[in-house]
């Protein structure tokens, strides 16, 4: 599957660096600002992950929970998420977009309708946190038919056999969860060990773009730059929270942060 996600990885590779992926929650801290944040960070990020907020997130840590609750409180609905993507995609700052969230929201929206709207709004990929392999086979196939990448997740607990099957069924991007943690935990594993596991995935199929996420901050990002891509999420959400607490502009603060992140992996 070649879509704009693959292209983004390829151009980062040409520059000899990992792709930088940011994660923000749609509607955080307002619908307008989340669009502004996307536009601002797209100068530095290669791919933007955008969370559609759920109020019972079983895999998210405090930072993303706070962002999600803030977005829900602001009245962010799925149609707003699509609207934000549409506006982003029609701007000159456009970057590949991966929506990320929990399966119940897709289920209630209607799986086919959801994918049609993803397609219509030029969404490039999907991460569904609580739809693991092999349960996700059917849905992943539906995505493939629409040329939307379904991103498989792999964790340190994934067994060897499972690893092989998941990689076989994966599309053009795989997400390796760096450690046993919810999002935003403190990095409790050495970068060396994380990269060792990462290499295991690459050795099974080196053609799949594999990103590392969970616990990545300004401090740790450079030590992992041999990966195909690196995701920063909770650190950005925390920055939004901090800027609100300090009455600063979240758009500028986040933009500055992502710029710094980018500089560390060049």
């Amino acid at each position: 599957m070649i879509n704009s996600i693959s292209k983004a990885f390829n151009s980062a590779k040409k520059e000899g660096r990992p792709a930088l992926l940011t994660y923000t929650v749609a509607g955080d801290n307002t619908k307008k600002n989340s669009l502004k944040i996307l536009k601002a960070v797209s100068k530095y990020a290669d791919i933007c992950e955008l969370g559609f907020p759920h109020n019972t997130p079983i895999a998210d840590g405090g930072q993303i929970q706070t962002s999600s609750y803030r977005a829900i409180k602001n009245g962010t609905k799925i149609k707003d998420v699509f609207k934000i993507v549409k506006d982003f995609k029609s701007s000159k700052f456009s970057k590949p977009i991966i929506l990320m969230g929990y399966f119940n929201m897709i289920l209630q929206y209607g799986q086919n309708k959801f994918l049609n709207d993803c397609k219509k709004n030029k969404i490039d990929g999907l991460i569904v946190v609580d739809l693991p392999w092999p349960e996700n086979k059917k849905f992943a196939n539906k995505c493939k038919k629409k040329s939307i990448s379904f991103v498989q997740l792999i964790s340190p607990t994934t067994s060897k056999n499972r690893l092989i099957s998941i990689i076989k069924d994966s599309h053009n991007m795989i997400y390796y969860i760096s450690m046993l943690s919810t999002t935003g935990g403190k990095l409790k594993v050495s970068p060396k060990k994380i990269l060792l596991n990462y290499e295991k995935i690459k050795s099974i199929n080196s053609n799949k773009n594999c990103v590392i996420g969970f616990g990545i901050t300004e401090k740790s990002i450079s030590s992992l730059k041999s990966a195909d891509g690196l995701v920063v999420g909770s650190a950005i959400c925390r920055e939004i929270t901090n800027s609100l607490n300090n009455r600063q502009n979240p758009v500028t603060k986040v933009s500055n942060m992502v710029k710094k992140l980018k500089n560390k992996i060049l």
Binding site: T56, I106, Q108
Partner: protein, 410 residues
């Protein structure tokens, strides 16, 4: 959708863990796939192992205190004037509620797996209290997740958890009740599943947790069946089993052994929490026709909005204050094996007053919901009908609420 006979309902799911093709499953983050699979392998190996079963039975008998009483509520029967009203006094069990069965089994499994820490969620505080008791008994470190609102309203159980040496983690997110406690507990497990076992406090959560809990609480109906045969010589022609339903662990356990009887002979009535009669919020997804959604790793009927955000619930009873319900009960509802209805906060309080006025048992607010419906239906039933209510918890934990609402001092 059909219920099979001669095979435990617990085993009537497909290879993906769905009952009736659509309830249950394993909607979990990748990280939990392995620990869940490990637990499945361990449980499947042990559940028919004679040595393990006799170990379980020994703890149930000597430590939990099996069997709990099965008594006729003669005064209440006379007052109501209809069917015979009996109670299975499960609150006799060590710790004062049915939650001890699941907690004991989970601690036994944790020991076998070599884990040294066990974490669990709690609403009314009973699941937490029992897990802390069992953890202490089996020498495990214990961490209990509890909503801040529930910590406030269930103080006696909070004290008990602490005195058993367990750590209580207050949960401030969302509605600060059971739903948030379960989420936070699962998150903790995601981050610590290599060293820590998790006990889900009811027949909810990913498939294996539903099964282990239902398997454990089935002790209630195993005892009851023997007691009924002792008392009546056979299973009465008209037997009605009333039980409150929150997550659904006590009701499933109270019914399981009677599953294969025709419902005209043995009827199951599940009573959900209808919430305050003036409020639109409730904790009764089966009664009020909530849509199927995913909560805590399983597909089930759950209170939610059109976007799939889980609704806040409201009930005087912390143990029933949960927006979802066990996949097992969804299955029993859709196969029409069980009937579900709701009682309001006020109904439950009134039932508590009546039961404690005429009898020496004092059901907590959870079973008071079941008593409320049992009393009003028993009135209209023939004298040869046998009504049994599971008094699955003791009201001591509710004394603050009862004092405030009814002026009763326990």
């Amino acid at each position: 959708m059909k219920l099979k006979k001669k095979i435990s309902v617990l085993d009537q799911h497909d290879k993906f863990g769905f009952w009736g093709g659509k309830f249950g499953g394993n909607f979990v983050p990748e990280t939990l796939k392995k620990p869940i699979n490990d637990l499945e392998l361990l449980f499947n190996k042990l559940k028919n192992n004679k040595k393990f079963l006799s170990e379980r039975d020994r703890y149930f008998k000597n430590w939990v205190g099996a069997p709990t009483r099965f008594i006729k509520l003669s005064n209440l029967t006379e007052h109501v004037g209809g069917a015979e009203i009996w109670s299975k006094v499960v609150s006799d069990a060590n710790g004062g509620a049915h939650k001890i069965y699941n907690a004991t089994v989970h601690c036994l499994l944790a020991k076998k797996s070599g884990k040294r820490i066990i974490c669990g969620d709690t609403g009314a505080g009973y699941a937490g209290k029992m897990l802390s008791m069992a953890a202490k008994k089996f020498g495990l470190k214990c961490k209990i997740f509890m909503g801040a609102k529930d910590i406030e309203r269930q103080q006696p159980n909070v004290k008990a958890i602490k005195s058993n040496g367990a750590e209580i983690v207050p949960v401030y997110s969302g509605s600060q009740t059971l739903v948030d406690a379960v989420s936070e507990c699962m998150r903790f497990w995601v981050a610590n599943c290599d060293t820590t076992a998790m006990c889900v406090g009811s027949t909810v959560g990913p498939n294996i947790f539903v099964k282990i809990c239902g398997w454990s609480t089935s002790q209630i109906s195993r005892e009851l069946k023997i007691q009924i045969l002792d008392e009546f010589g056979n299973i009465p022609k008209r037997l009605k089993l009333y039980n409150c339903v929150g997550g659904g662990s006590s009701s499933f356990g109270f019914w399981n052994e009677f599953m294969d009887y025709d419902k005209k002979q043995v009827e199951f009535i599940g009573v959900e929490a209808g919430g305050p009669s003036k409020s639109k919020k409730h904790a009764a997804p089966l009664t009020y026709g909530s849509k199927i959604g995913i909560l805590h790793g399983a597909a089930q009927y759950v209170n939610q909005n059109s976007e799939g955000q889980i609704d806040e619930t409201e009930s005087i009873s912390a143990g029933l204050d949960y927006p979802g319900v066990s996949p097992l009960h969804c299955f029993l509802k859709d196969t029409k094996r069980a009937r579900y209805t709701a009682a309001s906060d006020e109904d439950a309080l009134k039932a508590f007053k009546i039961v404690s006025k005429y009898e020496t048992i004092r059901p907590s607010l959870e079973p008071s919901h079941a008593f409320s419906v049992a009393i009003s239906e028993a009135k209209k039933l023939s004298k040869d009908t046998v009504v049994v209510v599971n008094s699955c918890g003791d009201a001591y934990k509710d004394r603050k609420i009862l004092e405030k609402k009814l002026g009763v001092r326990l």
